[in-house]
Amino acid sequence: MTTTQEPLVVVREQGTRHIPGQPDMWVFVFFESLVFTAYFCVYLYSRTQHERAFLHGQSQLLAWLGVLDTVVLLTSSWTMARCVQHARAGRYAPARRDAFLTAGLGFVFLVLKIVEWVRLIHLGHTFTSSEFFQYYFFLTAIHCVHLLIGFVVLGVLVWKLSASQEIVETCATYWHTVDFFWVLIFALLYVVR
């Protein structure tokens, strides 16, 4: 099998600076962060106008479950970062293993989320039952949509693992974005008073 090494892998030495992945993905990260920040602002403003109702709704959430969700996604970001490092050094087998670990952790997050939603629905809190829960379900659901897209992105990463380091880094950038969106959502839904 004749292949030429990805130039970026060969020439990268200590000290050369490069933008991780396609700069285009960073455009997406900035843009989507802006959109999410706008959603968060709408939520926070509503919160200040209906303090007691929001506090009451929030008290139905389990903070430790939110912490667990966050730790799971943070760990998936960790395995994602390790995957990129392995791939960069040509260690494709460990990279693939880390990619699958990342997907597995993402799946754990998804299961935890569904468990949490089912629990809340059984307690009588639904999308339409109160303003707090309207925001709760909206933010967690739109985040989950991003997570599901993340699985597709991970698929692309595994597909292109040995072919293009840039695509690996691009996909990793997307995954980390899903993670840091959750970091913000957790703080805003579970902790903010």
Binding site: E6, P7, F28, F31, A38, Q134, V145, I167
Partner: protein, 257 residues
């Protein structure tokens, strides 16, 4: 008399379509936001008597504005045609272009023409029963905002085409922006459920933020279509000109999929 250069320019039809696109979106903005004032949308929680008042306050604007749309709305076809042309110019299967064309052409009926028709019908006879006017009002706004599924798939098709494309017709960041646009369609879906609040059809999230995203997206593709026409070489290979480092993507040596 010298023959004007534009008559022999092989790109003249493309430019015609592009200027028509700009014309269409300008018309759309002026009609919806200024003449008919149907955007920002009316409030979903209005009772029938308030709806009567809403129609009364916009009577002439609705009839004139939407009459303009009925006459000139066909210009929207140029926008669609140019985008389909851009997808055809890509290295991906033509199926992408045709799917996009069909989806958006079909979507224009509920997503664009229903509101024009329903509002015109409502304005035409102000003496209609308030309940009927409220029915037309709901139909107009729900169909305009709520029929998003078609646009969602369309955006995803364009996104996939751009990301797979090896001819560099569009920069990859616009492919990702298509994802952002597709997601706004998801965000507007709850407007079928809520009569008030951020997720209602006039809500801070479902309308205001969405419109900003849509406006930026539309501005981006109008600009990029112009850039495509400037770079067009009527070949089938990579389009020249987008080779600044920011846009370049590394094509894997083993391009076998």
């Amino acid at each position: 008399m010298m023959r004007p250069a534009i008559l022999d320019d092989p790109k003249r039809e493309l430019w015609l379509a592009w200027y028509a696109t700009v014309g269409f979106y300008s018309l759309y903005t002026v009609v919806f936001f200024i003449i008919t004032r149907t955007q920002p949308p009316g409030k979903p929680w209005y009772d029938p008597s308030q709806v009567v008042g809403w129609f009364a306050g916009r009577h002439d604007g609705l009839l004139i504005g939407f009459a303009l749309i009925f006459v000139l709305g066909g210009l929207s076809a140029t926008s669609l045609a140019l985008i389909t042309y851009s997808i055809r110019r890509m290295s991906v299967s033509r199926a992408f272009a045709y799917s996009y064309l069909i989806l958006y052409a079909v979507a224009a009926v509920p997503g664009f023409l229903f509101i024009c028709t329903a509002m015109t019908v409502g304005a035409m006879r102000p003496e209609r029963s308030p309940a009927l006017l409220q029915w037309l009002y709901d139909l107009a706004f729900l169909s305009f905002s709520g029929t998003m599924g078609v646009f969602l798939i369309g955006s995803l098709i364009w996104m996939t085409a751009i990301l797979l494309d090896k001819n560099h017709v569009f920069p990859k960041w616009f492919g990702y922006l298509n994802l952002c646009n597709a997601l706004t369609e998801v965000v507007v879906a709850p407007s079928w459920i809520f009569h008030e609040g951020a997720l209602a059809w006039n809500g801070a999230i479902a309308w205001w933020i969405n419109v900003v995203v849509f406006a930026l997206y539309t501005g981006a593709f109008i600009y990029l279509l112009r850039s495509m026409i400037l770079r067009e070489d009527f070949g089938t290979g990579p389009l020249p000109g987008l080779d600044s480092k920011v846009w370049r993507t590394i094509v894997p040596v083993e391009a076998t999929v």
